[in-house]
Symmetry: D2
């Protein structure tokens, strides 16, 4: 039985981790970290957990936790995990960091986009970018996982086969993404109040969102060239779900069949990636509560572009589910364990 | 492995049955009945099932199905199950009927409230009202289960202990209930369009809703007297969930502690009923996707009334989950099998 | 041109006042009071007002405002208006208070339910309860208006004719009310975040909500007896709207026609009260953005009860619209001026 | 007083026309056309109109209507207006067609994209594309107006200044648009049910949506070259609102100030177009219920692209409001009459 600790267990991603781990037969939670709710019953914060979780919320003590836990999930704001990690900690336990601290290999670039100083640059190199479908072998051997961002997970998986195969002009990529509101976190901000989000859609972080360099880096590795792209996220009045519509110019004339066979070859064996039948667009409702990413594409002969589309649950494949998937790989368990959740509709 | 057939598998309750049975380790679905989508892939109707269910939708053939299935779920409009059931069918298989056909023991009363003729009155007596928490032993031995209605399940469980203990005046019961829109079904009606339901709340079926006699009957059995009550359902702009606020006059002065101990004595051992801590009101968000019913009550000394409250997921405990719970009991499985789903939030 | 000042102009009710007054041909706003946003452009807080309102937000200075304004609207938390009102202020200007400070004639009762000390008990007697349909003549002569609460407005208008005519047993009244989330205000609280409210319904303030004594008092005046009742509010995932379902036992057998004629006699001349055709239930979608209250009732012969129903927009008739209606009466303008807004659907 | 007839008055756009015209002081509605609800009270279909509209729904008789009405609005599916228009009709009345029949000047192109035969090609030339901000002078003289589509209105106004000034590469335009569900119409379709739309976002009509040629044509006129672009609409779980995020490569280095001054020069005098302050993104909540289009842009130095953004209410500026704006121009009224509605929030 894997002993897991969660630092930041009372955010939306942290709570989703609790939901998933409670249904995982080879893991148990030994630490419900939460600075905001120390000594309160976890079920007082999330009543869905009443009679399921009896533990109290505890302070975020990485040292103590390293003694108790086989794996620590940090579902915390940027800068926290990187300030707590150390060789001593990593010698005792594994860390899966759901924040951005170890996702960008170039520390200067991280500091520029995130506006904070990186406190543990030495560990950046060691950290493995935990997008299992792409880095599976490295994940298995990792001590420190940089769990991918929600938008990057969906964006990268949507575009990856075309980038890797060199079929699109990497200078023409535009990613227009839409997210449910749980992605904005559980902080008490006027802008996230029900009446402010409901009956509204807006773009935010235009040309400046922090997930941009993460996507650029990974697509850069795939295409073996430097990538600069446009990424525009939008806030949608729904709880969960991310939808990506990505555009790029095709470098050559390709048929639907050709591209379909490429996507199939990349993802056919992937349990959590579903390449949909022709003309079926991904929709967030079909993946809710599950670890699936649904993908499809459309070739527009008129403009010579391909539209690559992806849908997933931002809290599962975009955060907690992917973290569990990484945990499974790191501990030699079946990759799908605890994640074979059928999407819930409606 | 229990072989299960579903007649009416493409409604919301039918599809929820599929979701639950796909995650049930001792059952498999052998028949996806759907008049509307015959010969289409089930996943073409519900894309969440892509790569999970590969079967086609089939016609609703009870005869043929009785040969193949150990249990048949009928998630169909009133009148269908009762027109198909027969001694021959029941000699070969068990039936769990999610419609109202066998819920009312008095056939005249059924016909009066439902406005249709009951085609198989003989089976009404045999049918067991499948509210497991109350009729567990009878359910275990049943061939034919009348799976309770969504509103009745939540209403009855909320009021039952007070009725059974004789602590409330049964002539004073008023049930004000609120339901998510999946309860209205998947039929293409203008009134259920997104723009008609969103940003709206309304009462419907005031003083005439068909779930009224079902609630009255069961509370009548509990209190051993005839019960006439007010039941008012409301439609709420959300997908899932039922909330019940029930009012009744107390027959004597009782303390919070007294009533709490009664509710606990009825439900402490019940896995799917959670009596919440004092002053925590049930909310539908805390049970979504799960088979839980959350209950609580408040005594109003000023008016001498008790307010009894319940929340549950109408598609799970109010339909498909309860059906699976009944199946588990009928086949000697652990009652919770396939139903230990942690509520999903947000 | 009436010069109007608003203290608390950046809450939802305050902003709705701005919307209505901008479309009122005989009033202009001279003061946008807002402690939270002093010196910021009003349109920076509410971008809908861009190019419509150019003013800055100002401090809440009642003294200064009394010099400038013919009428002051206080859309503020309890206790503020009552701490600022004085004979000097009222000698210079009129006040329409949207808080509860002057709604309860018995100051002890106010203090008990609201948990704060009333700082200006002397003015309670003078204040007129501004439910225009009932107190029209007094409103016309008032200097100080207690603008009714949202739930009370809808509840009282729904029940008033039956109470006044003595047709219901006043000891049996149960009001089950449902409100959109704008009623919870614009404060940054976790409980009002989008993901906490969406896909949820809950009761709150059960047997203890502060609008209870206000409803009891007004129905007490109507029935000329002391009234104690149950009032249960619920939070609904929608922006605007209040729906009331009220129950009471009939004191005698009455026909639909009899009750209809009573409601018609009370409300036929009322521009903002619509008694709907038989069997059409009030729904919040049909009044959104307007000053209408839609009413109807259903007699349940089985239980001897009447169900009285009302729907309105909590921010209009339940707050800002009613305040403007009061202003119109106080200044001798046509009562409907600036309020003839057709409900917006969908 | 202008006498107006509406053919198709019981769709969402038709009903919005009724709402606007009821608040227009120089127009009255003389005909509520609706094939689906002939002889029913209009308020039976839309209860918001109870005690506001007393008329019955009538058949769609263009001949008879031409005798009675000064202007006919056709808020009908494609093909209807074009099959009813004639020289005789136009000699008696003016027509504002909210369908696509006369928007595309090249009839072959219309038939190709819409898949139907155009029954009155002769009138295409005469029809004026009623985007008032661009074709104001022609609108004033027109007998037949092609009221622009919802997506095209928002897309064209967002991009127009850059296209007209030749600052963007017209071969690089990608329009990613998002719409509320009222845009999908009031037809009873499973896909538009509450539970299918709620908690979901999806793209549809990818690389094939019918509004594509309309946008291309108008931007082609502006830039004086043939334009081929990508247009991807998405369905958002909200009632009203369209948001456009449009991308294009800049042809030269331009500063924020330069582009801002261009947008201002095009739109400063336009009452219904608001160019927002720097860094304020358009959001649909700020225009709801009004005729405004909110615009802004962001220059991305990294990619050399400009992101042009627009938000409006699809039923007002995107349909009924623009139709009234056209009517005002055609009849020599102030362009803003009946349209000075302050956006309603929340």
């Amino acid at each position: 039985m894997i002993k897991a600790g969660i630092i930041g267990s009372t955010g939306y991603a942290g709570q989703e981790l609790v939901r998933l781990l409670m249904q995982h037969k080879d893991a148990e939670i030994v630490w419900y970290g939460s600075r905001s709710y120390i000594d309160q019953k976890y079920y007082d914060v999330f009543h869905n957990m009443f009679e399921i979780v009896d533990a109290d919320c505890m302070d975020d003590n990485m040292e103590e936790l390293a003694e108790k836990a086989d794996v620590i999930f940090t579902a915390t704001p940027q800068g926290l995990c990187s300030s707590l990690v150390s060789e001593e900690v990593l010698s005792k336990t594994k860390i899966i960091d759901l924040s951005a601290d170890f996702r960008i290999k170039d520390a200067d670039r991280y500091e520029e986009w995130y506006g904070i100083k990186h406190p543990s640059r030495d560990f950046i190199k060691e950290a493995v970018y935990g997008l299992c479908e792409i880095n599976r072998e490295d994940v298995k051997k990792a001590r420190l996982i940089a769990n991918p961002g929600c938008y990057p997970t969906c964006s990268i998986l949507s575009i990856y086969p075309m980038a890797k195969e060199g079929l699109i002009d990497m200078d023409t990529i535009i990613i227009d993404a839409k997210s449910g509101t749980s992605g904005a976190g559980r902080g008490a901000k006027v802008n996230n109040l029900y009446c402010e989000v409901n009956e509204n859609i807006k773009a935010y972080g235009v040309a400046s969102h922090r997930h941009t360099p993460e996507i650029e880096d990974q697509l850069g590795y795939a295409s073996e060239q430097q990538v600069v792209l446009n990424f525009t996220p939008h806030l949608v009045p729904m709880n969960r779900g991310i939808l990506v519509s990505a555009y790029a110019s095709l470098k050559e004339d390709v048929t639907y069949e050709k591209v379909k066979s490429i996507y199939d070859s990349y993802y056919k064996k992937e349990k959590f990636v579903r390449v949909l039948p022709e003309n079926v667009c991904p929709e967030t409702r079909w993946v809710e509560g599950s670890n699936y990413v649904d993908l499809n594409f459309k070739i527009d002969q008129r403009t010579g572009r391909i539209i690559m589309m992806g849908a997933m649950d931002n809290l599962v494949k975009g955060a907690a589910g992917q973290a569990v998937q990484n945990m499974n790989l790191m501990f030699g368990l079946p990759e799908t364990e605890g994640l074979e959740l059928v999407p819930m509709f409606p």
